[in-house]
């Protein structure tokens, strides 16, 4: 018995901790690998240890509403504005953007490579009923995809079996698309960092409608008094600083810049 107890005691040995705060971020942000560049710098410059909760935008907003995190970093403008309007967040601060890309089988049965714009690309997929994987998880990427279908005058609810809503994160959905050789809408960062590409290739990108704006929203301390608002403010100051700008603009995978910093009021 003593032996088991002593083993447990060793396992429970407590570690000293720095100031911590919890930030809910989207899977696309984390899968891009940018967080692994930014967080150590945040720790070094501000002393804050940011604990990341990697979830979809829908769940991130839900965590913010419940007061389970101190701030959120997401990319779904309409939902963000509603979040602030309802008083769950103090304000919304744009930080950076990347873009969405259409990925699909390299032999491209829907001839996506020749599409004029994003709507045309979707119409081409629907016309040949090529397999298409949808995130289907109410994430920012999923909401973007739904809005694009609507703009193209198509209703995913009425699609047949070729439209597969998998209800999973960016990486898991890409895995599914890779296995099925299906088309999928992904953010560029996740796509470039994805290791299981198989026969998939980037087929269409560049339409301005595909820009993907990330914004930072601190949770309102008036609603949740336990929220670490001071740390959230300091993180915001850092995320909009020149140091963050240089790191974000400088982050590249294989020569390709992934994110464009566009926060207002940054001073050198």
């Amino acid at each position: 018995m003593m032996r088991i107890l002593s083993v447990l005691l060793v396992l429970f040995a407590v570690q000293a901790r720095a100031e911590t705060m919890r930030l809910a971020v989207t899977t696309s942000f984390h899968n891009s690998g940018l967080s692994e560049v930014l967080l150590p710098a945040v720790r070094r410059d501000t002393g804050i240890e940011v604990q990341l909760l990697i979830v979809g935008t829908g769940q991130a907003l839900r965590l913010g509403r419940a007061g389970d995190v101190d701030a959120i970093l997401v990319h779904s403008k309409a939902a963000e504005l509603e979040f602030v309007a309802q008083g769950f967040g103090t304000h919304r601060r744009e930080i950076m953007y990347n873009d969405f890309v259409f990925v699909g089988p390299a032999d491209d049965p829907a001839a996506l490579a020749g599409a004029a714009d994003a709507q045309d690309a979707l119409r081409r997929i629907a016309a040949v009923r090529a397999a298409f994987v949808s995130r289907g998880d109410d994430s920012g990427t999923h909401r973007k995809e739904v809005s694009l279908w609507a703009a193209a005058g198509l209703d995913p609810q009425r699609f047949g079996a070729w439209y597969k809503a998998v209800g999973a994160g960016m990486g898991a959905s890409l895995n599914t698309a890779s296995g099925l050789e299906a088309y999928i809408l992904a953010d560029r960062a996740s796509w470039l960092n994805f290791r299981n590409k198989g026969t998939l290739a980037l087929l269409f990108a560049g339409d301005p409608v595909l820009f993907n704006q990330y914004a930072y929203l601190p949770v309102n301390p008036a609603r949740h008094s336990h929220v670490r608002a001071a740390a959230a403010r300091r993180l915001e100051a850092w995320l909009t600083s020149a140091a963050a700008r240089d790191l974000i603009n400088g982050y590249a995978i294989g020569q390709e810049q992934l994110f464009v910093f566009n926060a207002d009021g940054t001073q050198d």
């Binding site: 396992l11 919890r22 419940a66 389970d68 999973a168 994160g169 960016m170 990486g171 895995n175 299981n196």
Partner: protein, 234 residues
């Protein structure tokens, strides 16, 4: 096949280099699951035994419920524990969400019915054997439970190890209540889910092999500590 081989190589690389992150999440896996096992056993072993020796009105229903709860879906447990511990939930003030404690709570709920059920099955047969003796010695309930627990300790070990197996390999509940936060609540199973999501199957598989090795190691260690299967003892 290539991916599996790459997984073996990745696992080997991680273990040989004693990767700092790997050691950390492995220790956290052990901390969470062993704590859950310890608490669940403290609840389930006496309860399962008590259920074997006592006759009461809803005994059948209790046993049937207990057996059904063995298949409790971890995701649902995770969701309920999340809602209870959320800042907007009834126990929100405790601030336990996204901590190892929350993960332990979820795992205790998942494995307690399993351990209690196996304990009950084993103790029922032992009780049939000990019944006359313990009744004739005019023992109290407490003494009977203690005697059965002690004499049935080998089978109870199996019950506990089954519970440990379910806890250490579980991902659905701890992902929701732990949040898979790096350096705070990331454990082996949630790390595997994360790496799979990134499409890095080799690293995911490597971590998987580490998890399997860990489960084997714990089983051997518990057997060694409790000196089963030794000569001269049964």
């Amino acid at each position: 096949m290539n991916e599996i081989w790459a997984g073996v190589v990745a696992a080997f690389g991680l273990i040989v280099s004693l990767d700092g992150d790997l050691v950390e999440i492995t220790l956290r896996s052990l901390q969470v699951s062993l704590s859950a096992l310890f608490i669940a056993s403290a609840l389930a072993l006496p309860f399962g035994t008590w259920l074997a020796i006592r006759r009461f009105r809803f005994r059948r229903a209790t046993i049937a419920t207990l057996n059904a709860l063995m298949g409790l879906p971890p995701v649902v447990v995770g969701l309920i524990v999340y809602l209870l511990l959320s800042r907007s939930g009834p126990f929100g003030v405790l601030g336990l969400l996204f901590t190892p404690t929350a993960m332990i709570i979820a795992q205790v709920i998942i494995i307690t019915p399993l351990i209690a059920s196996i304990t009950h099955q084993a103790m029922r047969e032992l009780w049939a054997e000990y019944h006359d003796l313990l009744i004739s010695l005019n023992t109290t309930n407490r003494q009977r439970i203690a005697t059965l627990l002690w004499d049935g300790r080998r089978t109870l070990l199996t019950a506990a190890l089954a519970g440990f197996g379910r806890a250490i390999g579980e991902v659905g509940a701890i992902m929701i209540v732990g949040g898979n936060i790096d350096h705070a609540t990331r454990v082996l199973t949630t790390a595997i889910a994360l790496e799979t999501g990134k499409g890095d199957f080799a690293l995911a598989l490597g971590l998987g092999f580490v998890l399997i090795a860990l489960a084997l190691l714990v089983n051997f260690a518990i057997h060694a500590l409790s000196r089963t299967e030794r000569e001269g003892r049964w």
